[in-house]
Structures are given as structure tokens and as C-alpha cells.
């Protein structure tokens, strides 16, 4: 019996290996390049002769990644908080009330999910420019919130629907009013769903590209993706070892967070997709 599982495992890993190699290839390139010396970087060898850990500290001092990291943290944290605050009540309404317009609201969310920032960027830019708010990070916070609401309400609602109503009804029977039930029965059960949804919203904001590219002009306001791109685009000589070190710093923390949480996403999305 054990033997069969072992055989099967080997076969499956064999089938998956080509795609895994292709998926890992760019990230392996990133990691290796970030540890090469300036002279070795132009040599496409697989293993650097010596590991240049100082690339990371040198990159940190010269590239402005530190302030970009702070900007990204600021924007992602605030917009996640704002998104969650407005999405929880909406998701609660969708999962616990029957009301006229419920379906219309759900379809509005769907449509807003379909419109990516890129389709609206011309109009957004004009509005922001007319208000004289280019280079204002708070504008980014509001825009990210607007675009994340649909995803967030959708995920929360699908989780909320899995929390059995019986518990709340039992509390009502005991004479607790709606608010009290909400606070002492529903919300404690919903905390894991909120945390997971918040983290995915954070990752979305952290990785956003086109709005930040358009709305931020001064270097000191750049978020991480724009900062890293600015190290590459429009330059005659690119210090690729620094660029890869910066990309490494920008992606690894989020990747670890995501790896830890991906199975919750599988559950939330699949419940949301069919229910």
C-alpha cells in the first residue's frame, strides 16, 4: 500500500516537473543574479564564484528601495483597512438579509471587478490632476480601495454564508438583540475570514502597478513596483544585480505570506464561485 503511494508520488512529480522548472526559472535567475558581483553579472553562469551578500546593503543605500518600501506599506495598509471597514457590513448584508436590489448590487460588484484600473486610468488621471493631487499617496489609497471592494465583499460574503445561522438564531431566542448577537456570536466566528481577506487585499494593493505608475511622478513617492521598474526602464546601463536584489526584497516577504495562506484562497474562491 505504502509502495503504491510512493510510486504514484514519483509519477506525479515527474509529470509536474516541466511546469515547475519553467515557473521557478525566473525566480532562480532573480536569486542567483542578486548574489553576483558587478563583474560577474554579465556572465550568464548558474553559480556565482563568490556570493556577494553586500549587493543587498549597497542596493538599499543607492536605489531608494527603503522609502519605496515605506510608501508601499503605507498605501497597502491604509487601503486594506479602509476596504475591510466598508466591505464587512456589505458582505454581512448580502449573506444575512434578503432585500430588493440584492442581486443588482451583486451584479454591480461583478461589473466593477471586470473593469481593471487600466481601462479607467485616463479618466482617473484627469480627475486627480484637476484636483492637483498628483503625487499624493492618499489618492492611491482611495483608488485601491475602490477597486478592491468587489473582491473583498465577494470573499467575505462567501465565508459569512458558511457560518451557520442557527447560532445567531439561538442567541436571539435567548433574548439577545441583533447588535449583541453580531458582536458576541457572529464577529468572533468571522475573524479568520476577515484576516484572510484582508491579507489578500493587502497583497493586491502591494502589487498594483498601473495606477501608481500614472499618479506618482516624484521619485520619493514611488511604491516598490514603480521603484524597481525605474531602475530598469530608460537607462543606458542597468545594474542588474541591484535590480534583482531589489526585486527579491520586494517579492519574497509577500510570497511567503501567500504560500502560507493559499489554501484559504482555494476555499474562499471556490465557495464564492458557485454560491
Amino acid at each position: 500500500m505504502m509502495n503504491r503511494k510512493l510510486k504514484r508520488s514519483l509519477l506525479f512529480w515527474l509529470c509536474l516537473s516541466p511546469i515547475i522548472v519553467v515557473i521557478l526559472f525566473p525566480y532562480a535567475v532573480m536569486t542567483i543574479t542578486s548574489l553576483k558581483s558587478a563583474t560577474e553579472v554579465l556572465n550568464p553562469t548558474w553559480w556565482p564564484e563568490e556570493l556577494h551578500w553586500q549587493n543587498f546593503s549597497e542596493m538599499w543605500q543607492t536605489s531608494g528601495v527603503g522609502s519605496a518600501l515605506a510608501n508601499s506599506l503605507y498605501v497597502s495598509t491604509l487601503s486594506t483597512a479602509l476596504t475591510i471597514i466598508v466591505s464587512i457590513p456589505a458582505a454581512y448584508a448580502l449573506s444575512r438579509y434578503e432585500f430588493a436590489g440584492r442581486n443588482a448590487y451583486r451584479q454591480f460588484l461583478l461589473v466593477s471587478q471586470m473593469l481593471s484600473p487600466i481601462v479607467l486610468v485616463i479618466g482617473l488621471f484627469r480627475l486627480v490632476a484637476n484636483a492637483g493631487m498628483i503625487d499624493n499617496l492618499n489618492v492611491l489609497v482611495i483608488i485601491y480601495t475602490g477597486f478592491n471592494i468587489a473582491f473583498c465583499v465577494w470573499m467575505l460574503q462567501s465565508y459569512f454564508s458558511t457560518i451557520p445561522r442557527d447560532l445567531e438564531e439561538a442567541a436571539w431566542m435567548e433574548g439577545a438583540n441583533r447588535w449583541r448577537t453580531l458582536r458576541s456570536v457572529f464577529l468572533p466566528l468571522a475573524v479568520p475570514a476577515m484576516v484572510v481577506t484582508a491579507i489578500f487585499t493587502f497583497i493586491n494593493a502591494w502589487n498594483e502597478f498601473v495606477i501608481a505608475l500614472t499618479m506618482l511622478r516624484k521619485e520619493e513617492n514611488y511604491t516598490l513596483p514603480i521603484r524597481v521598474l525605474s531602475l530598469v526602464a530608460g537607462r543606458y546601463t542597468v545594474d542588474w544585480h541591484y535590480v534583482m536584489a531589489a526585486a527579491f526584497v520586494a517579492s519574497v516577504p509577500v510570497a511567503i505570506l501567500f504560500a502560507w495562506l493559499q489554501r484559504y484562497l482555494v476555499r474562499g474562491l471556490s465557495i464564492g464561485a458557485v454560491k
Binding site: A90, L110, L115, G123, L124, I149, A233
Partner: protein
């Protein structure tokens, strides 16, 4: 009475915020697309559909539209073909499944911009590691300048597009597979159905709604996808890898043709609306079934 108004109060803040971020810019885009605009966004005369006429006479726009079609079709179909077997394997019980899942999901966690920046370096003609890897394997004899020509750059961009779309698609399929009741297979096995028959007669039909939804959602995401092409080639060389989104950005923010860019936005909006309607119909049909 209080009960009847409560849900509306609860959804109001989210509705207002989402509507403001979507409808307000949309109104701006409509007015930009119907007026003569200078490069600083000052509206001048009303010109009606002039911007649309300019676009349809612009060979680069027509080429970008066709390329968008090829881009979307190749990435979406490629993703579905790759994702079905991966999801089937990841749904089985085997040693190291957790690690395999994380590895397959990895591109989802890393921002498209970073992935694209890294690929731009890996595809570098002289120092790129793709060339050296392919030479070591004996696939190519001399270095290829991947990003210097559309004929090599665009297929690579499609490949990157597929790689970053697989995680989401596999996730949807895994959700679908977990809803397939185990006893169906047992029943089929006692009836003498082989593995292939089980897949064809049970798995595939039950997976169909999830394939449909993944198809429509991927179509929308890929159609809107900006960073891969913008970061690797910026639509170049000579506009030969533009899709609609990158062409829109180029017109609006590089060339200052805001009116034309707004017109592209509206054309894309119309196409997206059609996709969305298809999605809503599919989703509704699932709900009824």
C-alpha cells in the same frame, strides 16, 4: 421598518466608494472621447466621433486590436490546457503535495511587475540566462535577441502570460474538484469504468461549470493585462508588440493623445461589458442548476 432599511445602510458605504472610483472616471472618459483635447487635458471643441474615426484609420490601432485577440486567445486557451492536468494531479493524495501546490501558486504571489522585470533580464540577448540554459541543453546554437523582434518577443510574452495565469485557474479547478463526491468514482469503478472513462464521464462534466467560469474570468484578466508587455518591451520595437491596453497607455501618457486614448478605453469597456454579460449568464445558470 428598521429591518427593511438596515441592509441598504450596510451596503451604502461600499457602494458609494466603488461607484465613485468607477463611474466618475467613466464620465470623464466619455467627455474626453467626444472633445478635442490638448495634451494637458484641456477640453476644446466638441468633435463627436472624430477620435473613433482617427483610431479606425490608424494601422497601429488595428494591428494592436488583432494582437489583443491573439494574445487573449493564446494565453487563455494555453492556461486552460495546462491547468486541467495540474489540478487533477494536485487533487490526488501524494507525497509532497503541499510543496507542489505552493510551487505552482508562486507566480500569483509575486507581482506581475517583478516577474516581468526578472524575465526581461532572463531574456537578455548577451547575458540572459535563458540563452545560456538553452545553449547548455543544445536547443539553440547561438544567442537569440528575444526582445529585439516581435516574432520572438510576443511568443515569450504569451508564455509568461500563461505561467502567471495558471495559479488562479488551478485554484478554481481545485475548488471544483473538491465538490465531486468520492462515491461517484467508487460506483463507477464497480461498474467497471476505467480511469479514462471516469475522467470523461464524471470529472469532466462536473468540472465544466468551473472551466466555463475560469475561461470567462481569465479572458477578462488577460484582456486587461498591462505589466507583462509594458515592462518587457513597452509595445516596441516599432509598436510591434502593442496590445490595446499598452497602446492606450502609450497614446495617453507618452504621446499626449488623450482623446484617442479615451476612445480606446470606451471600446475596451464595451468589449468587457460583453464578456461580463456572458459571465453573469453562466454564473446565473450555475445558480439555477
Amino acid at each position: 421598518m428598521q429591518r427593511a432599511t438596515a441592509p441598504y445602510f450596510l451596503i451604502l458605504p461600499s457602494f458609494l466608494l466603488a461607484a465613485a472610483i468607477i463611474l466618475w472616471p467613466l464620465k470623464e472618459i466619455v467627455s474626453l472621447s467626444l472633445h478635442d483635447v490638448n495634451r494637458f487635458g484641456i477640453l476644446r471643441d466638441f468633435v463627436g466621433l472624430e477620435h473613433f474615426r482617427v483610431l479606425f484609420a490608424d494601422p497601429d490601432f488595428i494591428a494592436a486590436t488583432w494582437r489583443t485577440l491573439i494574445w487573449t486567445a493564446c494565453v487563455v486557451l494555453g492556461t486552460l490546457i495546462v491547468s486541467v492536468p495540474i489540478a487533477l494531479i494536485l487533487n490526488e493524495d501524494f507525497y509532497g503535495r503541499g510543496i507542489a501546490r505552493i510551487l505552482i501558486m508562486l507566480p500569483w504571489a509575486i507581482s506581475l511587475t517583478m516577474t516581468a522585470v526578472v524575465w526581461r533580464w532572463a531574456l537578455n540577448g548577451e547575458s540572459g540566462m535563458l540563452n545560456s540554459a538553452l545553449r547548455d541543453l543544445g536547443v539553440i546554437g547561438s544567442n537569440i535577441q528575444w526582445l529585439a523582434e516581435a516574432s520572438t518577443a510576443f511568443p515569450m510574452q504569451i508564455l509568461i502570460g500563461i505561467l502567471v495565469s495558471v495559479p488562479f485557474t488551478v485554484t478554481i479547478f481545485l475548488g471544483g474538484l473538491s465538490s465531486v463526491p468520492e462515491d461517484l468514482y467508487e460506483a463507477a469503478a464497480t461498474e467497471g469504468a476505467g480511469r479514462w472513462d471516469q475522467f470523461r464521464l464524471i470529472t469532466l462534466p462536473l468540472l465544466r461549470p468551473f472551466i466555463n467560469i475560469a475561461f470567462v474570468l481569465n479572458t477578462i484578466y488577460v484582456f486587461n493585462s498591462f505589466p507583462i508587455i509594458w515592462v518587457t518591451t513597452q509595445g516596441g520595437p516599432a509598436n510591434s508588440t502593442h496590445i490595446l491596453v499598452t497602446y492606450l497607455y502609450e497614446l495617453g501618457f507618452r504621446l499626449g493623445r488623450l482623446g484617442d486614448a479615451a476612445a480606446i478605453s470606451l471600446i475596451m469597456f464595451a468589449i468587457l461589458l460583453v464578456f461580463t454579460l456572458i459571465y453573469v449568464r453562466l454564473a446565473m445558470r450555475e445558480e439555477k442548476a
